[in-house]
Symmetry: C2
DNA sequence: CAGTGGTCTAGACCACCCC
DNA sequence: GGGTGGTCTAGACCACTGC
């Protein structure tokens, strides 16, 4: 998709410092010519940059780059999307098993006796324990899944080998405090405030492919709404 | 804006049960005729419905209404937007004063000695304490503001009487636990996990008009990402 | 008043679903 | 193969900015 490419290109140019904060981007017509697209397509790309807090625009004036502290670094996505590439993210698989879905059967819309794949991973950021993830995936959708998949990218297993297509995510945030076990795994004190994120990963037609509960030491998650 | 009207119309039709979950909406061309718009405009409206979790679409097939548990009720917005109209929301002004900006001067980009209007409100949902808000607004932008503004809608004061235009919001979520004073105000036990939301309300050009810190007993906030 | 971004249109082409 | 949504275009008109 053209607008997506343009979005990524402009985003990288901004992050690379090609435009200083406060600078205006080129006029829309110029950018349209550079990328060889029409204005609506360019504006779709600009719109995503606005949502990310990278730029703001003023009718009759121009599109301007925000100071870096306004940038929202893809928060609320999965950890690998938040930090992919930029920081040193490692994961340690703490467990991998097939379990009866039991109570979780409801959200997956399967029977309590049907099987779910469950794995728990500790994610470290630059070596420091950063978040704990419990992920569940229905066995019937992923019959070939085994522990070796976790060595690579789970996403490319789902989208590549299995041929499924992710359609949308839903994320719920809850406040929590570390209990004894969580505190010892994440190596923080007991009773520390912590965010608990539930990620629901859907195919089209609301078929749930992945359900992940993440406890993260991230101190804040941000989001912005452009009117 | 036409796409906004269409979004609200369809949203109300869905909430009113005009379409049952799983039902398909009319074909896009039909809806275009009904509303007298072109397809891109209609699709902008549909796109917002998808983000809200109200519908999903399938290329080559149609647009379908989701079960109600997928609906995201405008979370992450201000409390009055989250519950406006639907529930009984009341607020009690606990304090109103003009204070030196001090440390907050930085985020407003003003001097530490410049004045900020500060007010604290306890919001109740159906009579139950639900969230505590501390709001700061720069005195120089709102010289006519006094406590009487809080009796009506602060938004319409800002956009109507003052003639400013909100351009975008930024929200940050942090985990917290209630301390003694917060627990007594919100009438919950001390040490309870709670979400702390920072709302930043901007005019164009990133002029900060309002900064609000909200502690809310909301058990979870949701958001969805459509690819 | 000239130039900018904001919104919308009419129509095109494609990928995909389902008969 | 007929019909659906996904994407894009070229161009129009408007509101607003800033000289």
């Amino acid at each position: 998709m053209k607008h997506e490419q343009i979005y990524h290109d402009l985003r990288h140019r901004i992050l690379d410092g090609e435009y200083a904060p406060g600078d205006g981007l080129e006029r829309e017509v110029v950018l349209c010519e550079r990328y060889g697209v029409s204005r609506p397509t360019l504006q779709k790309a600009i719109g995503r940059l606005k949502q990310d807090g990278m730029v703001h625009s003023r009718q009759g004036s121009g599109v301007f780059v925000n100071p870096a502290e306004f940038f929202l670094q893809n928060n609320f996505t999965t950890l690998s999307e938040r930090y992919g590439g930029e920081e040193h993210l490692t994961s340690e698989v703490l467990s991998f098993a097939c379990v009866p879905s039991a109570g979780l059967g409801q959200i997956f819309d399967i029977e309590p006796t049907d099987l779910l794949i469950h794995y728990r991973r500790l994610r470290r950021l630059n070596g420091i324990p950063w978040s704990l993830e419990d992920t569940y995936m229905p066995r019937n959708l992923f019959p070939t899944m085994d522990a070796s998949v976790l060595l690579g990218s789970v996403i490319s297993y789902i989208e590549g080998e299995c041929g499924y297509r992710m359609n949308h995510d839903r994320v719920e945030v809850r406040p929590a405090v570390t209990d004894t076990s969580l505190a010892s795994i994440l190596q923080v004190e007991k009773g520390r405030p912590i965010l608990r994120l539930s990620h629901y990963n859907y195919q089209v037609h609301n078929v749930l492919m992945q359900y992940t509960v993440e406890y993260t030491l991230e101190d804040s998650l941000g989001i912005s709404f452009v009117r």
